[in-house]
Amino acid sequence: MSTEQERPFLQVEGLTKRYGDSVVFDSVNFGIRQGEFVCIVGHSGCGKTTILNVLAGLESASEGHVFMDGREVAGPSLERGVVFQGHALMPWLTVRANIAFAVRSKWPGWSKAQVDEHVQKYVAMVGLVAAIDKKPSQLSGGMKQRVGIARAFAIQPRMLLLDEPFGALDALTRGTIQDELLRICAETHQTVFMITHDVDEAILLADRILLMSNGPQARVAEVVRNTMARNRERATLHHDPQYYRIRNHLVDFLVARSKELSHGRAPAQPAEVSPGLDPEPQPAPHNVPLRRIA
């Protein structure tokens, strides 16, 4: 247990991404413990998706390293499942075939019956048994995203990466799928890294929330511990006094501090805070140094 504390399951060290002269983010440092659900929140353009793609192995960083379970992440791997923003289902395949495609990739030696049994289990998990032989075009947006989640879980990855999976869904559907995701993660003890723009979503789902400052030279500026118990529920969440303290902290950050901390003014090693339980942090200094013209 103590070693786990010292060296998290996923460790990101000094990650930097540059396009020519412009630095999108630099010195991004954070860790994720096994079985932990971590959300990253920040404004558009701060490089959240790039960080996720680096974790997935789809993009490479200009500098820095990512270690998973002590080994460096050097490319895509079946150990990390990805749920893409636009569901990314193959439209010529049925739900069954889409998930089977992933299952056969993970276990190439499996028989047809084995694959199908596994597929059905995960389709049932997201409650889409009735739609298993439909094509994605016949499904609603929420159903498609559920198939994407089922596909990612079906390969039983050691870590799950979700790129703003509910961004395009209406509030009602979003709530239902959030509950489902929460339930599945609790059952499977999945380690999750998720991008979101929705503060409430982050508070509901995440054990810790990474706050990213604005680009250029964005950084993970602060880590917010979710001090509410893990059996959070959407219906009762907002009755907990902690809820508003955390929420206000996140909103304050997004509205004001994220901008003040752009251009690399955020600390390279983010502090971990527990809003409402910590002594209030010092207000940001007024004499912000003059902005360098990048």
Partner: protein
């Protein structure tokens, strides 16, 4: 509603057909015998004598002008069609073969030339589509070679191959290769990034990626190219066979022109049209089978 529209369309088609046939009938109507007989009546006995000496029969010429006008009447056309359809596969030597046999020769050439073109164009298109380097390197060649009329290759083909039949096949090859090549390259190059990313994160082997992701994703575009190619090949085969001679539906048309048998020429034109339509329909079916709704 749709049924009634189809019915009305069919009815209108029938009316147009009847109208065309009526125009044909009126245009080829035999001139009144009374008018035709008049010139013979005014001939003096000496003139009749002279005509007979010259090997002409003035009495016969008065009765026959309608039959000798060349363009067939509907009834003549009908008998020619019936005769050709009754025995399409007879073979009375090089210049007298049934239309079915000639059609088989043409279809064989198109099939062979087109088949080889597909075998070359689709794999090459894959390579071009996947590699921007190859795409740029080959683009100037494709742009120059594409607009060349396939028949312009004929003398070169005849000189180098020294076989008229194979030259015909080569011409079909060269005209059907471009649309397939370009469409395959375009289809492969524009496969959505997210589907390729899914394949990457699932560590899919290159062969599986090509056949299970890129091929089905690009199939509608490839099939469109194949359909265009088949249309062009069927246009070109007639002209090529007119040049090369020997066998085939194009040669049949040319041979019947030399025989001054317009009914047979008209019949061949109709056959070319119907076969071309059937080929196109077959590809339309295939295209529908691989098209997916996104």
């Amino acid at each position: 509603m749709a049924a009634s529209l189809n019915l009305r369309a069919a009815l209108l088609s029938l009316v147009i057909l009847l109208g065309l046939l009526a125009v044909w009938h009126v245009a080829t109507l035999a001139p009144a015998p009374a008018v035709a007989a008049a010139p013979a009546a005014v001939l003096t006995p000496e003139q009749i004598e002279y005509a007979k000496l010259m090997g002409k029969d003035p009495a016969a010429s008065t009765a026959a002008p309608a039959a000798k006008s060349g363009f067939p009447t509907l009834a003549q056309m009908g008998t020619v069609i019936a005769k050709n359809l009754a025995s399409p596969f007879y073979d009375n030597g090089p210049n007298d073969k049934g239309v079915g046999l000639q059609l088989a020769y043409s279809l064989g050439r198109v099939g062979l030339g087109y088949g080889i073109a597909a075998l070359v164009a689709i794999p090459l298109g894959f390579v071009i589509g996947m590699s921007p380097l190859v795409y740029r390197a080959l683009d100037p060649y494709i742009q120059v070679l594409k607009p060349i009329s396939p028949l312009a290759w004929m003398p070169l083909a005849l000189y180098t191959i020294k076989d008229s039949s194979i030259s015909g096949i080569f011409v079909i090859f060269i005209c059907s290769v471009w649309p397939m090549l370009i469409n395959t390259a375009f289809g492969v190059a524009s496969v959505r990034r997210e589907w390729l990313n899914v394949a990457k994160t699932l560590e899919v082997t290159p062969l599986r990626r090509a056949f299970e992701v890129i091929l089905p994703a690009a199939a509608p575009t490839i099939l469109t190219g194949m359909r265009i190619s088949m249309g062009i090949a069927w246009l070109v085969i007639v002209a090529a066979e007119m040049l090369v001679g020997g066998t085939g539906i194009g040669y049949f048309v040319w041979n019947e022109w030399n025989n001054l048998s317009l009914p047979n020429v008209i019949f061949a034109i109709l056959v070319i049209g119907v076969v071309g339509m059937l080929l196109d329909l077959a590809f339309a079916r295939l295209q529908k089978a691989v098209t997916y709704v996104d």
